[in-house]
Subunit: 136 residues, 2 copies
């Protein structure tokens, strides 16, 4: 498992996603202050390059430098205020989701087994009523 | 700027991407140990649900429980070993990329200006020869 390469690839995805969120933040601000410019940014950002944050900014710099600089400033702020929470949130979410998947699978298998066998007085899934509150 | 919502959305994207990287890791292992199963997983994972890690695992659990459990274990390990580096890597990458974009823009504007004006004995971009080494 190449942890270093995976960390690098994940950072690239993360940076592009934060760039997208910065664009959405600026878009929300513009829709209050300058609707025509908001509409222009909305159309520009729908052209596909937003998948790669750097290509998107390179293209935007050629069309509207001020907007590009604004999105760059916002994504830097987002990186500083959001990323510190990600390690714990991601680890917790994955552990909880994995527990949820394993319980659902156990429930599914148990249901299949009890359907195949003769009726049971006390179905196993009754003790799993908290399943509905589990993620995914 | 709704930092809490953005952190939550970013975590979801991060978890799905780590699930994708876990699938790729298992795929690489299988291509050594069990090529037919690797081919099956490759086809299964190309059906689009991989965009949402939890939907992908739910679908895979119905088809091949063992593979799904294996990917779940790998993504948990990835989250523990990769995410701790992400805050610093993302902040550094964004800062460096922003500096790069600003320099390139400055260079572009300067080139446009010097092209418009009469020839200069010492073009400004000569002092920016390290630009080639800057990120995207």
């Amino acid at each position: 498992m190449d942890i270093k390469r995976i960390a690098k690839d994940t950072t690239k995805v993360l940076v592009s996603y934060l760039t997208y969120q910065a664009m959405r933040t600026v878009l929300a601000q513009l829709s209050e202050t300058n609707p025509p410019l908001a509409l222009w940014l909305h159309h520009f950002s729908g052209q596909g390059t937003i998948q790669d944050g750097e290509l998107y900014l390179q293209a935007l710099l050629k069309e509207n430098q001020e907007l590009a600089f604004r999105i760059m400033t916002v994504r830097e702020h987002l990186a500083e205020s959001v990323t510190e929470f990600l390690p714990e949130m991601a680890c917790t979410d994955i552990k909880q989701a994995n527990v949820g998947h394993r319980r659902q699978q156990l429930e599914r298998i148990t249901q299949l087994t009890t359907t195949d066998a003769s009726p049971q007085p006390e179905p196993v899934q009754d003790s799993e009523s908290s399943l509905d509150n589990l993620p995914g």
